[in-house]
Subunit: 83 residues, 2 copies
Amino acid sequence: MPKFMDVHSGFVGVTEEQLREAHERDLAIEEGEGVHFERAWLDPESGKVFCLSSGPSKEAVLRVHDKAGHPTAEIYELPIEVE
Amino acid sequence: MPKFMDVHSGFVGVTEEQLREAHERDLAIEEGEGVHFERAWLDPESGKVFCLSSGPSKEAVLRVHDKAGHPTAEIYELPIEVE
């Protein structure tokens, strides 16, 4: 299953609780699109959020975010990963 | 230890082997800065690379990338993470 990183802007000053609530809205509906959001990281100073997910397509990932109320257009497919 | 995400551009068409080689240049010298690069993901179509690390500061992380030959100026501290 392809992995993806999507990026949100504008989350300046958002708290851990607020990020968790937003992430849980994704988790609650992701199954309908065959998507799984693995982790999300927030820099509350710049307002950037990075979400790592797996799913069938970019469009499926973005549909979950749309339906959960935090749309973004910035997403990258990640066929290559090293550690 | 704070976590960071840094972003590189211009890696269009880079292979897994090339990314691994670049990542290993970071791993070989990271200890001198007290940094650890956990994972790196590449979208070879757009040329974006995302590196997840931990370390004492943004500057320390960027110095490792500088010395390894793949500098970037785009880095975010990630005090908040959910899964």
